[in-house]
Symmetry: C4
């Protein structure tokens, strides 16, 4: 089923990285720049994430001895430093997730760079080192993003959707590359739970057991075929009690099945780099940018 | 699971407030101000609420000796006084829900005040006292709402989404506060049942048993972890026979499980105030407004 | 559960009218007036209704000795006369459904009248008598519709959503009235099955067994409480084999439960009129128009 | 259930053609002509189709000795020739699917012709012969399409939705015709799985077992009544491991049931032509164009 199977550590059948995007009120502000100050219910809803869900997640993952990856925008790092400290104290990885959850592929290249550097500054000031991983807010990875990330020493990205296992993103011009740890909307919780006009999302709300049919079927396939299961969950959605209980039950299911490598994304990145260095496995490589401009086929004077 | 657990009366495991928003034809008029007079099917659909569903609800809750909270816009109080009397005679609480289901965070501050005072006048004229609780129509709580509510003596709000249990809303400037009894779209019935172009909602329509998977999973979690379950249901949706039957079955499930405190929101407000006064429990407090203006980060001349 | 229970014939527990709106390509043309000639896939999809589904329905209902009500726009009557004849030969009722599936509440009053009279002419020419019942296309009943229908001798309407059982629509000015046999989006098949950009509908497509959870729960409640179950189904959707098989299974379920009066809407109308005439039951009455104009509360100079 | 039942080969109860639309990044470019170069996540998601899913599909269908039909745009044939070769080596049919997934009914007739000829050139150059079958991208078959297809020697189309079994499309002016092998949105995987803002689709994501309730119910009905089951699946959606596993399980279900003719569309086309030639069965015929222009009923000066 998987063409170029990756050997997971200790003969594990698959890897599971339950990652969380701790957006707090950043995305909501980005999408409502002129009116967010007046949308108090959405403010409260988005702040459930850092104020209520994050401590809950930390407590329950500690009980299970799990260390996960959380992607956090720089502005959120600045606004909720206690939560960042709590995550770090418990061994979680903080990946970078923009500054204000900006859509990098809808803004000018210089603006993308501006927000990225501001996010990095916030990260370094609070955390004291540079991040190793990046997830583009809203998966809005631009044609400039790879170069900017490489320039700033990022080692992996987790925003693209091109495979079931890790692969390499290679910058065509320079030959530099980083590791892509791919995601898919299928393992995002927004399509199942998000219903909020102020976030521009009005999905029918699934019961936890229905949403987890999706998440579990993806896990079962990863387990059967040797894949990489990466959730993209949001504390304000999947951190609510009924849903988080279902998430813990999914972990139980994974544990019971056995042969699962539970890992942070930085650990998966390290593993991939070691495989490459030792020559045990070579990832598929994609070269970016795929297009430098809109397709010439659409030019008016064809 | 809940960081600052609230002691419920008589050692109950959780509190359940099955609240209903009796919008009747108010919201439909607000959203179709220029054309509502010509949308006769939607008129009939929205009036099912006061004319058919309200007497049904009153009868069945009386049989079960339940007294609930209904949020009603002032204009609906004026138009359907017999239904208001019926609700009051059976011990239900009437909370205020705007005048014409206005979206307070999309209108000028003076307009918000105008509608609020007109709603209060309608309430007092019909009911003879002031309301204790408020739910912002469409959850559209503005940055001015808290001050306006405090000025007018409201004791609690039930529009925000920042916790699983009651918390305090504190006005930064004055230090005054009221009790927040939080909701979430997850316990609203619109995402499951609403399909009506004239209301701007076209969700796939869930069977009662599917919608109740969501409502029940939220209850089961509240019961397990000590939460507060507040439904935001609408008589024109959940008051239809098949759905109302499912709602009654959910009540049976709750009763059978035991240890549930069924309460009106004013009773929960009283309980919270007594806990505070006696020093037995202190709610988490949120200070408003969170922002006075759009984020300066978005200013053009950054 | 039902405040003013209606006695059904022979002590039946409930009435079932499985009605179908045979729109064929009318609605699709109305909604794509400038481009429909170029939307060939939608043309084929909408013509599945008269060309494939209608003969199928007629055959299977004949086997079960069922006579139903079909609402058909005048333009469809003109274009598909063989199907109309087939329906009539098998004892089905043809109700009127506009001329070109026009949205009567979005056009001028004189245009509403124009299409209505053109539809009536088409009906009379093909069928040789006047229709007894009306369903407004898209349920878009206008504030003028009741008067127009009364002027033209209609005896019942089936477009409004104000009750679980028949009621009376009374014209305020004249005191004339007709019988309303109410529907609800819940028993329409569009929210469950319709996914077609050219019809402006993109719902997730439910399996027949899931859609029928909704339809059956509504039936079970009608059976338990004495209601009137009226489906609003479309041959191009519910007439496809897998879905029609589920519809037939629902009929089996209804038969097995027993005590169901299967009827055409004209028969239900007759029954209601006889109840009224004999004084055995009086329907609730709604007076129209509810509003003559937009609410004065919204006037600028309030 | 089916009025004019078609005899399938060897007395099979039904025919199954599991067809796939290998769009790769073509549709995404068409719908985002000015911005696609900057939408890197969508690029990666759409390229999962040729790079990951196609080899997987080929391998698993080879194991089951299945030869299927894949519809591929000309631009995709040019960009991914190795995948085309792989498909052809394994006996799969390549049908044509536009050049850049253009919506033929939204562009000028001369542009439709331009893209069609460019697509044909790409097909012939890579594959060395002309395609026998066509599926209009996005099912956007225009009123000109039939003539253009006939002029270029196409033998069948699989874009329209007018029946449960094959039928004939006849060009009114010339009397020429081709075979229509009809589809329906019900057997497309987009309504169940597609959630991607850059493709303009945000459906709730169904679990494979839920989506397959739909696909299987359609198969079971085809099997019971003698129909033709044609899936319209996309490698980037249904080619993901969990979903593809479900697809393979559906094949198991079909095999276990027995009496199924698994065929490519060209084989079904051949079968239909032989039936016609031998006089054993005559398909229903639809004449196109249905309308030459918008309906005169809508003319302003009616």
């Amino acid at each position: 089923m998987i063409a170029n199977p990756i050997p997971w550590p200790n003969g594990a059948r698959c890897a599971v990285a339950m990652t969380w995007d701790m957006d707090a009120d950043s995305a909501f502000n980005w999408y409502n720049q002129a009116t967010a100050d007046n949308l108090v219910a959405a403010q409260s809803w988005t702040r459930y994430d850092p104020l209520i869900a994050i401590p809950r997640l930390v407590e329950h993952f500690a009980r299970r001895d799990l260390r996960l990856t959380f992607f956090v925008p720089g502005w959120v790092i600045e606004k909720y430093p206690a939560q960042i400290d709590l995550l770090l104290e418990h061994g979680h990885e903080i990946g970078l997730h923009g500054y204000l959850h900006e859509r990098s592929n809808e803004i000018a290249a210089e603006d993308e760079r501006y927000w990225l550097d501001r996010a990095l500054a916030a990260y370094e000031k609070q955390i004291g080192r540079r991040p190793r991983g990046w997830r583009a807010p809203s998966f809005a990875f631009s044609k400039h993003s790879l170069g900017y990330l490489l320039d700033r020493g990022f080692e992996y990205d987790s925003s693209l959707m091109g495979d079931d296992i890790p692969y390499a993103l290679r910058e065509g011009a320079s030959g530099r590359s980083l590791i892509e740890l791919p995601v898919d909307w299928t393992l995002d919780d927004f399509p199942h739970y998000a219903h909020n006009r102020d976030l521009g999302y009005r999905m029918p709300i699934a019961a936890p057991q229905r949403a987890h049919e999706v998440f579990r079927s993806e896990f079962d396939a990863a387990w059967e075929y040797g894949g990489l299961w990466i959730s993209v969950w949001h504390p304000a959605l999947s951190g609510r009690p009924a849903r988080f209980k279902a998430a813990l039950e999914l972990l139980d299911h994974m544990h019971a099945k056995g042969g699962v490598w539970f890992a942070r994304l930085d650990e998966i990145c390290d593993h991939v780099r070691q495989l490459i260095a030792s020559g045990r496995w070579t990832p598929r490589s994609e070269t970016l940018p795929l297009y430098e401009s809109p397709l010439p086929e659409f030019a008016r004077d064809r």
